[in-house]
């Protein structure tokens, strides 16, 4: 078991400098997203983000001190995990939720598997799922100015039509902190794409497959507005560019990435159409993360995953 996962995960980052550079770029790319989130949801969003970042960095530091490991908690990976985790939480959650989530993400999901680079699932999303199962009430209650509001996807499921323009440019509707503005997400994603820090294959294939499945099976009289809400709502864009492209938890080769994108699009759409919870894209991602070693086994380019032999 261990060798199977290790061989697939190893050598995602060739050097430590590369890891650091990518981490720094991710954090820079998240700046517009954070800014939009804090502007839309106010000071609470900032507090949630801060709590989750501090919790991630601190718990990694304490764990590594206790286990007498080399301390790497200040190299930026914990910061990135904290930011990503904070961005996929609602802004009004009580502060113990991001703190507990940060501890779970760094200790259970990353450190117990051998440290950053060796984890199998995306720490921020696993932690989000952990919190979603544990504190489902607090995690699915989206408030704006103190009023509980339905997310665009819930509005649509109940037969209403959410305001699409608002969703793309600046979301006054409910959602996680990172979903505040699709525009900000795209700006961040473009930054990563231009500097070639993420692959363009996975997001493209993912969004393409997702759109097709939603169009085909999304219901009898699905309108263009509905399809676009599906794409721009519920964090699909966020996941496509910031989680599906995470180097450690996605396949290495070109064909591996294509297959990963197809699977991800298919499973997200299935969850979206059949699932009871509309905001369930994170389950799709961690499920596909678990299939990555298998995909790598058959589709990784030669020489990258050769440790097994």
């Amino acid at each position: 078991m261990r060798t199977f996962f290790d061989s697939a995960v190893e050598s995602r980052y060739k050097t430590e400098e590369e890891l650091r550079a990518i981490t720094v770029n991710y954090c820079i790319a998240l700046i517009p997203v954070i800014a939009a989130g804090c502007y839309a949801f106010g000071f609470n969003a900032f507090k949630v983000l801060l709590a989750s970042v501090v919790s991630c960095v601190a718990s990694e530091y304490i764990y590594q001190k206790l286990m007498k490991l080399p301390v790497t908690s200040l190299d930026g990976t914990a910061l990135m995990t904290g930011l990503l985790l904070g961005l996929c939480l609602p802004s009004e959650v009580p502060l113990y939720i991001p703190i507990l989530g940060g501890m779970f993400a760094t200790i259970v999901v990353v450190q117990l598997f051998g440290g950053y680079g060796f984890h199998v699932m995306n720490p921020a999303l696993v932690s989000r799922c952990f919190l979603l199962i544990s504190f489902s009430e607090a995690m699915t209650e989206y408030k704006i100015d103190g009023l509980t509001t339905a997310t665009p996807l819930t509005i649509m499921r109940n037969g209403g039509t959410p305001d699409l323009q608002q969703l793309i440019v600046f979301n006054e509707q409910a959602g996680c902190i990172g979903e505040a503005s699709v525009l900000a997400l795209i700006v961040g994603a473009l930054f990563l794409l231009i500097f070639r820090k993420i692959s363009v294959i996975t997001p493209t294939v993912y969004l393409f497959v997702f759109t097709i499945v939603i169009c085909l099976f999304g219901g009898q009289d699905i309108s263009l507005n509905d399809v676009l809400t599906h794409i721009f709502g519920g964090g699909v864009i966020f996941v496509a560019f910031f989680f599906a492209t995470d180097r450690v938890t996605s396949p290495v080769g070109r064909w591996g990435k294509v297959i990963y994108g197809v699977l991800l699009g298919l499973i997200t759409a299935i969850y979206r159409i059949l699932g009871t919870n509309t905001e369930s894209v994170s389950y799709a991602v961690i499920f596909c993360n678990l299939l990555v070693p298998l995909i790598d086994k058959y589709f990784a380019p030669r020489g990258v995953v050769e440790k097994e032999a």
Binding site: Y96, V108, S134, F135, S136
Partner: protein, 236 residues
């Protein structure tokens, strides 16, 4: 008598089936949602274990070696059926919440493991003591796991509100669901390993327990599989 007491002590403490031998993980993970469920499951298993140990021990010279597995299963299954009917008649709520895990006691590793490793080689009295010890050890372990998970996951203890009274406490409900069982058992194993205690997952401890990856010389269920295959091989 002394020997019997020693066997009971071994079952509860030094060879605890769940905490040390890591046997019977399926009911351990599945039914420890609450303390009541855990203790109920433990006691039902204990009754079956005592009765089947005694029966198998009494019949140990009668049962031919080649068909001992089917014979054990028949004996265990009859006692499980009795226990199931009793639970259904007198504690229906427990019967409902344990569900399919009551019939599954038939294939519980602890019962078959003790039948093979102990009851088939020792007299009736000692086998009964072994059943009591192992059963109590199982009950204690399941009860404690259930208590812990129920306390943090629902804020109650044996169904009585403890932490819910306190408004600032929010139950971590993942602990009463399936993943919580894995998290709690893993933490337990980690503590055992850290302290160097005897345990099936502990490679560093001085005294080893469980299978030790030595399937041929192990008293647990793996031996059964091994010998059974060998027997079949000889026939072929």
């Amino acid at each position: 008598m002394r020997e019997g007491l020693k066997q009971i002590y071994k079952g509860i403490v030094t060879d605890n089936p769940v905490l040390v031998l890591m046997l019977g993980m399926c009911p351990t993970l599945a039914v420890t949602k609450s303390a009541v469920d855990g203790v109920g499951m433990g006691l039902s298993t204990m009754v079956v274990l005592i009765l089947s140990n005694m029966m198998i021990s009494a019949l140990r010279k009668v049962i031919p070696d080649g068909v001992r597995m089917p014979a054990y299963i028949v004996i265990v299954a009859s006692f499980v059926t009795v226990v199931e009917f009793v639970l259904k008649a007198y504690v229906y709520s427990l019967y409902e919440s344990l569900g399919v895990y009551i019939p599954l006691i038939v294939v519980n590793c602890i019962i078959l493991g003790r039948a093979e490793a102990y009851a088939s080689k020792n007299n009736v009295f000692l086998s009964m003591c072994d059943g009591i010890g192992m059963g109590l050890g199982f009950t204690v372990a399941l009860g404690l796991l259930g208590l812990f998970r129920e306390l943090l996951g629902a804020g109650t203890m044996f169904g009585i509100n403890i932490l819910r009274e306190n408004a600032s406490f929010e139950p971590i409900s993942i602990l009463v669901q399936a993943p919580g069982a894995f998290l709690v058992v893993a933490c337990l194993a980690a503590i055992q390993n850290k302290l160097g205690l005897k345990g099936a997952t502990n490679k560093r401890g001085k005294t080893k327990a469980g299978c030790n990856h030595d399937c041929l010389h192990c008293g647990g269920c793996m031996t059964l599989v091994g010998t059974e295959n060998e027997k079949e091989g000889e026939k072929a």
